[in-house]
Symmetry: C2
Subunit: 346 residues, 2 copies
DNA sequence: TGTTAGCACTCGAAGGCAAGGAGTGCTAAC
DNA sequence: GTTAGCACTCCTTGCCTTCGAGTGCTAACA
């Protein structure tokens, strides 16, 4: 990437800032006046023509002002934008709404967090639920409900609790159940759910069958229950916020976006691509996103964790024209708070 | 309601049918030609003018055709529409998609059903989840997880299983827990969740405290967990389907509808108003709905049940111009199947 | 050599206008 | 009571004009 003269930088910055604010193409006059460059509009016009040639700006049509290109936004995010701190008030606002209810389970906390993020940013926000597959087995219980049914409860280290009613085709004595369960707990403790493969289960099954042949049905169902949640869930907040954005005023565009929001697995893939191991915030602008349905959008994400173990990705999706600086600050603040809640909470 | 001449009925029927199909205002020519009345357009014109005066039809503007008024739709639904059976193919289609996965828990079945309903009807569909409050207590278990935490599992007769992790501020011996739990089960069995009031809980608490003073915390949390799900959930399907409807082509209308879809408690109220005890299907047209946000919509609902106990309401929401006849048939078929699945399944 | 004022030019948005067409209401004849 | 005929209404569509914001270029200026 070429280096830009100081003056070009200032002008590019001004164009980006103005366009983020107003959503209109910005002309040389506006830059000269509103941003007090100490230069005439004609000079700025020349510079803007240069910036366009270099690919940082583009013109919707000849007689309109300029808008930042994707490259322009990228330059802004990488070199021009200063990190901003939220005002005390904004920060308090986020803290307060996250504390609003005492929540005990991880899923509730997450769903709540994504709603808060959406309502603060006025954009659509998404969060990848904690990845069940990656969490490690802590303990399993089988609770006999009556002669024919039992409740399998699976608890993992990240506070995940899964349960499932299973049918048992033969009645089991509590003793027998107890035996099976403690055996399983012993064998599985500390493994990640990923590691509990079908082969491992088969092994255990063989092992157990020597002693107890009655559990076939129970096992099939246990296996099923593990396989089922193959993929973490994605929760959304503020999906209707895109309707207020001027770039989504056509019904087809809205349709495309909302249909995307209904495809959980696609959202998951998109978010997964932004998963990082460190604390950085990832900004993907326009076509930098691999899924072409959001080539006119930007996605800003961060990872959230529980005691240094990365759980998933949370982020904001909006038009490329979004207030990167502010949203990054909000996201940082919210993730910080979320991490602390999760790590202390459970 | 006045009685209409046979001829007026036929014309009204034709207008409604044509408008449902095309979404355009229908003129006298169209009625005469397409529906082979054996009358000239002029005659029909006169009749239509009468029907307008009587309030069954209305004109968007002078030189347009007529569209059915709300009163017109009502008359159609009450007197003109014949009940239709689905074709074998359609019926099979519904059956097949409902059987697609073997589902064990009531919530999954319901969520799946509402999706199927939406995709078949190409409208938005909603279902009120089984009302936790109305189901009766079957059994409760407390599963100690470690010294500090326990898992409360609550099982009701409609197959509802609720669980919640609680913190215990003092360690409990399994014996002690066992005692409390069996006492509670004995006292609460067969009561509806509604009936488990705070006062009853307090009574039990007092009773128990004489013996075990350590459980205060556990009790507070149990109470909380009961209170929490005050209101059944509402699940939606095909929310984006309204975007394909010509009556929702303006962004503001879409916005209003989608915002409504985010307000679960409002949806619940709307559905609750349609709850009946019998097997009838309820049709609310336009302003017959109390919530004014859907005064341009119609809502068709049925109740679903498990072994003759009403669980909740399932329905279709769409523009007043919808194919009542067909949608009622679909709904009937689906609810029938759903009831059987629920009653046999668990 | 860089900056600025001036000016012609471009192009979209908005408004007005006429033509076209679907449908009506009325009247008079059957 | 029914129908053909006709004038009338009013929306839709396309076309044209005007308006204005903004540009690029040129020539003059510091």
């Amino acid at each position: 990437m070429e280096t830009l003269s100081e003056r070009k930088k200032r002008i590019l910055h001004a164009v980006v800032a103005s366009h983020i604010k107003t959503a209109d193409p910005v002309g040389s006059r506006t830059v000269a006046r509103t941003y007090r460059m100490g230069l005439s509009s004609a000079t700025i016009r020349n510079e803007m023509a240069d910036l366009e040639e270099m690919g940082y700006l583009e013109q919707p049509h000849t007689s309109a002002g300029r808008i930042p290109s994707q490259k322009g936004y990228r330059y802004y995010v990488d070199h021009l934008m200063t990190e901003s701190k939220l005002s005390e008030e904004e920060e308090l606002n986020i803290y307060r709404s996250l504390n609003a209810e005492k929540m005990r389970e991880i899923e509730q906390i997450i769903v709540h967090a994504v709603k808060v993020l959406a309502s603060v940013t006025k954009q659509t926000s998404l969060i990848m639920g904690p990845q069940f597959q990656k969490s490690t087995f802590q303990q399993m219980r089988i609770l006999p409900l009556d002669e024919k049914r039992g409740l399998v409860v699976l608890i993992t280290d990240s506070g995940f609790i899964k349960n499932k009613v299973i049918k048992l085709n033969q009645s089991l004595s509590p003793m027998e159940l107890q035996q099976v369960v403690s055996y399983l707990n012993q064998k599985l403790y500390g493994l990640s759910i990923d590691q509990v493969t079908t082969t491992l289960i088969n092994e255990l099954k063989r092992d157990l069958f020597r002693r107890l042949e009655i559990l076939e049905q129970a096992f099939i169902l246990l296996e099923e229950s593990l396989r089922e949640e193959q993929q973490a869930r994605v929760y959304l907040g503020g999906t209707t916020n895109i309707l207020s954005q001027p770039e989504f005023k056509s019904v087809e565009k809205i349709h495309r976006m909302l249909s995307l929001f209904e495809q959980e697995s696609l959202l998951f893939e998109i978010l997964e691509k932004n998963l990082t191991e460190d604390d950085s915030i990832v900004v993907k602008i326009g076509t930098e996103n691999e899924y072409e349905g959001i080539h006119e959008c930007s996605l800003i994400t961060a990872t959230y964790k529980i005691k240094d173990r990365v759980l998933g990705t949370i982020g904001v999706l909006g038009p490329t024209r979004m207030d990167y600086r502010w949203i990054i600050a909000v996201l940082r603040c919210l993730v910080d708070k979320l991490n602390r809640t999760l790590s202390s909470g459970l």
